[in-house]
């Protein structure tokens, strides 16, 4: 997911913006949260010991990758065979003209993507490559391709079991398919479904608030780095940055000021496209090195140098960054995708295939190739995140760090907007809808925004990290249970498609 740039547990990366003074408040909160944070982290990041390597396999990575592999096989490699059809869905070929004005497949995908594309694609890849060498890219791409299948299942369920209210609004996501879906498919497991939904909602609220803190913290760190690091004039003004971001976020989520959201909506894709184009340009100007770079990725994947922790070390690093980057299995995307207007839930699942594909397979691969081609990796050097990506791009375009800064700020902003909505949905699922309650939650998002950039709370950040990943525990249990439902719908849909019974409008 987009806000993972620190590596939890065994590999703690010094957060670049450790420029915050140690204050009494930090210490107090730290002491309160630490026991809770440690317990959850211990479970989520429990490393299954592996023979011959000193690095274990984090439980949560195994949990996500096994699910992705299972759904890929269970749905007969849907991630590969449905891509052409889902592109046509995305283009609107199957959308009746009288649906003009409704949420389109494209818009649902774009909204979901703006919640996932972010720091993970810029910094996460750099981490993977600097820790695991070029070969980590191979496993990242593979995990991204597998993750597509998980997204397909969870987003189909998100649409199928959403609530459509009389006033024309919709609410969907794991909370709803866990409770309603399991209750209707397995009546004697109804209580389990309800329980899973509640646990999911709790994790989602924690992840949303913690994630917000993480985003603003990292965005401010990046701002500090670009403006001169420790000597930056902004040094010590983290709270001010937080207040400004909180004001902007507040105007969007509380004030409903659409103009700000609209500007972000336009800028986020522009930044994404700029990033990809700049990457392609760099790859293009070094085109003669491309085969060698791919060679390094493939050989590195199977015969890595010892310095990167051997075969298993590279494998884990790649899988891990992919799992953290595209959120497949976390359940967040199912909330975003459920707003689409369609009577066939499968179609939205198919469109969601493109989310990990764009996030992990396309954007991450470009980042990795740029880093490898420009020879920016310093073997056995320090572990780097954004700085490595920044240096790689800057070696060709010296103005790029500024673009990267703008991109990081915008991605952080859009991710906060998306996650505040996910958190809100979970919050209202637990406590019921209502103006005051919603306002209370939105207020706490703003507080988290200010706190995130003004104080450095490692325990809270780690807690947020663990919370977001923990969402996959209840979510995937439900997704496994409900996979047969999706299979039924998919088989019927695919038969119609193959027989040419789906009406096209283009």
């Amino acid at each position: 997911m987009s806000f993972r740039i620190s590596v939890p547990a065994c590999l703690t990366i010094p957060v670049p913006g450790a420029a915050f003074a140690d204050q009494g408040l930090d210490g107090t909160i730290d002491r309160l949260v630490t026991p809770l944070s440690d317990a959850l982290s211990a479970l989520i990041f429990y490393e299954i010991p592996l023979p011959l390597v000193d690095q274990g396999l984090p439980f949560i990575v195994l949990w996500l990758v096994v699910a992705a592999l299972f759904f890929t096989v269970y749905f007969g490699f849907i991630n590969l065979r449905a891509m052409k059809h889902s592109f046509r869905l995305l283009r609107g070929d199957y959308t009746p003209p009288d649906a003009a004005g409704e949420v389109t497949h494209f818009q649902a995908l774009a909204t979901a993507l703006s919640g996932t594309v972010g720091l993970g694609n810029i910094a996460g890849v750099a981490l993977a490559v600097s820790l695991g060498g070029p070969g980590a890219t191979f496993w990242m791409i593979l995990a991204g391709l597998l993750g597509m299948s998980t997204k397909f299942v969870e987003c189909t369920l998100g649409v199928k079991y959403r609530n459509e209210y009389a006033d024309g609004t919709v609410s969907g996501g794991p909370m709803y398919y866990l409770s309603k879906g399991i209750a209707s498919e397995y009546p004697n497991l109804a209580v389990l479904g309800k329980g899973l939904a509640i646990v999911f909602a709790v994790f989602c609220i924690g992840g949303a608030l913690g994630g917000t803190m993480f985003q603003t913290n990292q965005a401010f760190s990046q701002l500090l780095n670009v403006t001169g690091g420790g000597a930056s004039v902004l040094q010590g003004y983290g709270w001010l940055f937080g207040v400004v971001v909180a004001l902007l976020v507040g105007m969007v989520i509380i004030g409903g000021i659409r103009s700000i959201a609209r500007v972000t909506e336009k800028l986020v894709p522009v930044m994404g496209v700029t990033y990809v184009l700049a990457g392609l340009l760099i790859i293009g100007t070094h085109i003669e090195q491309l085969p060698a770079a791919f060679g390094a990725i493939v050989t590195g994947a199977f015969q890595p140098e010892g310095v990167y922790g051997g075969f298993v070390g590279v494998l884990i690093m790649g899988l891990r960054r992919a799992a953290f980057s595209n959120e497949a299995g976390i359940g967040s995307a199912a909330i975003a995708h459920s707003a689409v207007r369609t009577d066939k839930p499968v179609t939205e699942g198919l469109v969601a295939l493109y989310e990990p594909f764009i996030d992990t397979v396309v954007v991450c691969t470009i980042t990795a190739l740029v880093i490898i081609i420009t020879g920016s990796i310093v073997p056995s050097g320090d572990v780097e995140g954004v700085a490595l990506t920044s240096r790689a791009f800057a070696s060709v375009f010296d103005w790029f760090p500024l673009v990267l800064l703008v991109a990081v700020l915008l991605f952080a902003f859009s991710t906060v907007i998306s996650w505040s909505y996910y958190g809100l949905k979970a919050f209202t699922y637990l406590l019921g809808e209502g103006r005051d309650r919603e306002l209370a939650f939105k207020g706490s998002v703003l507080v988290a925004t200010v706190l995130g950039s003004s104080i450095n709370l490692f325990s809270v950040m780690n807690f947020a990290d663990a919370m977001v990943l923990a969402m996959s525990l209840p979510n995937l249990v439900g997704v496994y249970l409900l996979a047969p439902v999706v299979k039924r719908e998919f088989v019927a849909y695919w038969r119609d498609y193959k027989a040419g019974r789906l009406q096209t409008y283009r």
């Binding site: 004005g101 774009a110 909204t111 959201a261 909506e265 336009k266 909330i335 996910y422």
Partner: protein
């Protein structure tokens, strides 16, 4: 019987186009289709909150277009004995009008010259210019 399509946008210029279209329709004994296009793109970006409320918003937008823009104008004309149909639709103004002209087999499209802001019209060309370039039937542009 001939059928004329007129696009209005609630502006003064759009109303002048409507008057011209009415005069032309009366003279030719033609039917009139009045269309208000709510600018919308299937490829725009939105927040999750907006997506969740989109269906409701769409209904509200259509309702507002009908009750505030179309009906007040149609009511008076119907009383005058003209055969009139009014349509409110989401979409790209030019493409939506062209599509509607094809659907209704219109013989003429009437639109106002300006509507968008002057700058936007200069750079991208307004609806009128777009129609002139892509309409399958004659276009009458009213200043």
């Amino acid at each position: 019987m001939e059928r004329f399509l007129v696009g209005i946008d609630g502006s003064e210029c759009g109303d002048r186009a409507l008057s011209t279209a009415v005069a032309q329709a009366r003279a030719a004994g033609a039917e009139l289709v009045i269309c208000f296009v709510i600018a919308w793109s299937p490829y725009s970006f939105s927040t999750p909150q907006e997506n969740a409320e989109r269906h409701r918003r769409r209904e509200e937008e259509l309702e507002a277009a009908r009750s505030k823009i179309l009906e007040p104008r149609v009511a008076g004309l119907k009383a005058g004995g003209l055969a009139i149909e009014s349509v409110a639709r989401h979409g790209h103004p030019v493409r939506t009008l062209v599509k509607l002209a094809e659907e209704r087999e219109a013989d003429l499209i009437v639109v106002g010259r300006s509507g968008d802001t002057p700058l936007k019209t200069r750079i991208f060309g307004g609806t009128a210019v777009g129609l002139v370039q892509s309409s399958p039937v004659p276009v009458l542009v009213v200043p």
